[in-house]
């Protein structure tokens, strides 16, 4: 008879899981690509750190001013800022979250209590949580320096507020996980999400138009916000400072009630997961499909000018684009952004009011913005291939055909986007002068084709798999992000200098001529690079396959 193991304490289980996380990280660093990825992440982390630190100072100053000037209602605002960031940021940038599925731990004899605590602890591993805790500490420091006696209350309320936030964030995450367990639901959600993000851009113009009439309604709603955790935290601190123990007790009790409520709900969700709630994407029972009597042909080949492999890749890329809700909706962004920007800051109709930007500046600026958005995915262009990447290496083709197919598709999409945006510009702002139009168009060719060469290199050097319509764990390689960043800054910098050279020298056609030369060089360089990149792809095929077939 086999031995029966004894139970392991919650602390020991948490220690084991922490050790597991550490070993996963350490082992992943054995691979060069992962090390480079970490370096890239550290670089981007430094920017995040600077932002957190800067806001720490702001929260410190806010809390200090609030207590020293007896403007205690400001504390609620600070709590609201942290609350909104903590709850919304993980949904917006889910990719930064820990992508280790802690539910896999369920195969081990883990107690529900340990599972709950570990689940909660994971909530603190998010960037939003770490940043928010830093800001809460900064607020505590600011409040204590201004009024030392408030420290115990600040610590108590801060701890409760922190627990309310982490519990709620985990609860929302767990609900979302349940809601988005199915691929179609995920894609639908992402579509709605992108649309809502786009809609946010309309807030300013709407506020300008309807702000005055909406204000009374908003003011009527304001008192109800007092019953939410951030306001309660602020009110509790204000009450204790004003020596109103009853109000302090009421506010802190309500905050505690929130904590209990959220904890109970989260416990319920985790308990369901613990019992083995099935969220996997098993195929739904298929309806008996009727076999079509005659198979549909694709019709005449519209890509007959291309070689069959390149045409096949273009077709496949197009199908992938139409099935990637997120990527497809992202294409709506540029024309809409131009519409929004033109409503906010440009256009002939606003220039009269002295607030507009001329088409001379708006046109190149918008084109640069458009390229910035649309070129970003090209730096990890194999992200969605998955195991299919092997087909490119087993099929009888040179890898240059793969690049050509993918790049051709991207250039086609960019052309459509640029044409749409140009039409939007012409309607909203008007066209710039001929020399600026030609210079910008040549600059567009130069920056796109120039970037394509770098992006192709980046795609085979720093590949990272991504899943359609998935939110958690979706992150580009840190190095690919850095390469894209550096490349775009370089191209943008060169273009800006050349554009301004025209003004400085007084030769308005000089930028157009310079960009035409650069564009020709970029096109030449692109074609010259294809064979070298094909050889590199062949050399790096193992890394590529390993990264994408996980």
């Amino acid at each position: 008879m086999a031995d029966v193991t004894h139970s392991v304490s919650v602390f020991e289980q948490i220690r084991l899981v922490a050790g597991l996380r550490w070993r996963i990280l350490r082992n992943s660093l054995r691979k060069k690509n992962n090390r480079l990825d970490l370096i890239g992440l550290i670089f981007t982390g430094v920017f995040g750190g600077i932002m957190v630190l800067g806001l720490c100072i702001a929260f410190y100053a806010g809390a200090y001013a609030s207590f020293s000037q007896s403007r205690l209602e400001w504390m609620a605002l600070l709590f609201w800022a942290i609350f909104l960031f903590w709850q919304i940021f993980p949904v917006l940038v889910a990719g930064f979250g820990a992508n280790f599925a802690f539910r896999t731990l369920l195969r081990f004899p883990l107690s529900l209590r340990a599972f709950y605590i570990i689940g909660l602890a994971y909530g603190f591993a998010d960037f939003s949580a770490l940043a928010s805790v830093c800001w809460l500490l900064a607020m505590t420091a600011g409040a204590t320096v201004a009024k030392p006696g408030v420290l115990p209350a600040m610590l108590l309320i801060g701890a409760m507020f922190m627990l309310v936030n982490v519990t709620l964030e985990r609860l929302i995450g767990s609900w979302l996980e349940r809601l988005l367990a199915r691929r179609r639901a995920r894609e639908l959600f992402l579509g709605l999400f992108v649309l809502s993000m786009i809609s946010l851009n309309f807030i300013n113009p709407l506020m300008q138009r309807y702000g005055a009439s909406a204000r009374p309604a908003f003011l009527r709603l304001l008192p109800y916000f007092a019953w939410f955790p951030p306001s309660l935290a602020g009110h509790a601190l204000a009450a204790i400072t004003r020596l109103q123990p009853a109000r302090f007790l009421l506010s802190s009790s309500l905050l505690l009630l929130y904590l209990v409520l959220f904890s109970a709900l989260l416990w319920r969700r985790f308990a369901a997961q613990y019992r083995g709630e099935e969220l996997s994407e098993t195929a739904a029972p298929a309806r008996a499909a009727v076999r079509p009597t005659a198979a549909r042909d694709d019709g005449p080949d519209r890509l007959s000018l291309l070689s069959p492999p390149v045409a096949a890749i273009v077709r496949k890329e197009f199908r992938y684009l139409t099935r990637n809700g997120f990527a497809l909706l992202a294409l709506l962004m540029p024309p809409l952004v131009i519409l929004v920007f033109s409503m906010n800051s440009a256009g002939w109709h606003l220039t009269a009011g002295g607030r507009g930007v001329s088409a001379e500046m708006f046109f190149p600026g918008m084109m640069a913005y458009l390229i910035l958005i649309l070129m970003a995915p090209a730096y990890n262009s194999f992200a969605y291939e998955g195991r299919g990447i092997q087909t490119y290496f087993t099929a009888p083709l040179r890898f240059r055909d793969v690049f050509l197919g993918k790049n051709l598709m991207l250039v086609s999409v960019l052309s459509v986007e640029i044409a749409l945006s140009l039409a939007m510009l012409a309607w909203r702002v008007g066209l710039p002068s001929a020399h600026m139009l030609v210079a910008t168009c040549a600059a567009v060719i130069f920056t796109i084709v120039g970037q394509l060469t770098v992006a192709n290199w980046s795609s085979i050097t720093f590949p990272r798999k991504m899943e359609f319509g998935q939110m958690r764990g979706q992150r580009q390689s840190g190095m690919a992000v850095l390469v894209a960043f550096a490349s775009q800054i370089l191209m943008g910098g060169i273009s800006a200098v050349i554009l301004f050279t025209g003004n400085w020298t007084g030769n308005l056609w000089l930028p157009a001529e310079a960009f035409a030369l650069l564009a020709a060089a970029a096109v030449g360089g692109y074609f010259a690079s294809l064979d070298a990149l094909s050889r590199l792809a062949e050399k790096r095929k193992e890394v590529l396959i390993e990264a994408l077939c996980r």
Partner: protein
């Protein structure tokens, strides 16, 4: 002299200090149904990846149908079909779209690709899900589609890494019949499988790899004779395999060491 489908000389692949494939010399004649066996981690998948161009050898050379792979990879790839480990499917295409994509990648014209896609989908019993994306296929359906894609261009050598894993008995029977027919018509099939009964039933020739080295190669009859010393004996492939790889039991896990489990 029979035409050689696969020939390797001192084929070696290292991963750091680990020698996954250690100087193997394979010889597979055209039209053979060739089983490539070995215990876990022996180097089977690494060998098949090298032979299909998914992995570069550290040293050594190989010729497929007499063409040097390193010198002319595109020409070699035109002649071979592969079901790689993990199947290598583009999961966001439908089965029909994927087959058309692969057909065009191998240079088939549109009409031929269209016709063969339909026939293969019918044969693999995948035709009744025309709008279903591969991501929504079951594992067995994906395996059948990967097989269909591997044969759409009529390859002269077919590399199959665990082709029957997850495929139901009905489909497996039809596939085996198809593969047998292909070998009759001259296609060479190079197959790895952990199910020795399948290999024994299908393959005429077998090679066994162990710790990266080729430890046995020949027809089943030759291997049986080699083991028992007499021709025409009834030794099973499992017995041959265990006798060669397990060295008569010395390398088999010793159950006594797990006494706490019993």
């Amino acid at each position: 002299m029979p035409e050689m489908a696969i020939q390797t000389q001192k084929l070696t692949r290292r991963f750091g200090n680990l020698i996954a494939v250690d100087g193997i010399d394979l010889q597979v004649t055209a039209g053979q149904f060739f089983g490539f066996l070995g215990p876990n981690g022996a180097g089977k998948s690494t060998t098949i990846k090298i032979l299909t161009g998914l992995l570069a050898p550290t040293s050594g050379s190989m010729q497929l149908l007499g063409v040097d792979f390193a010198a002319n990879p595109v020409e070699v790839k035109r002649q071979i079909g592969v079901v790689p480990e993990g199947m290598g499917l583009f999961e966001r295409l439908t089965g029909s779209e994927y087959l058309k994509f692969v057909g065009r990648m191998y240079g088939l014209d549109r009409a031929t690709t269209q016709r063969r896609s339909e026939e293969l989908l019918d044969f693999m019993q995948l035709a009744d899900r025309p709008t279903t994306m591969i991501a929504d296929y079951s594992h067995g359906m994906q395996k059948k589609l990967a097989l269909a894609a591997a044969v759409i261009h009529g390859p002269r050598i077919l590399f199959l890494d665990e082709p029957f894993e997850g495929v139901d008995a009905l489909a497996a029977g039809a596939l085996k019949a198809l593969l047998a027919r292909m070998t009759e018509r001259g296609t060479t099939i190079f197959l790895t499988s952990h199910v020795l009964e399948i290999v024994e039933r299908l393959c005429s020739h077998v090679a066994i790899i162990h710790k990266g080295r080729l430890v046995a190669q020949g027809s089943l009859e030759e291997l049986r004779t080699g083991i028992s010393g007499e021709a025409g004996n009834k030794t099973t492939l499992e017995q041959i395999f265990l006798s060669i790889v397990g060295q008569g039991g010395t390398e088999r896990p010793q159950l006594e060491e797990l006494s706490w489990l019993m």
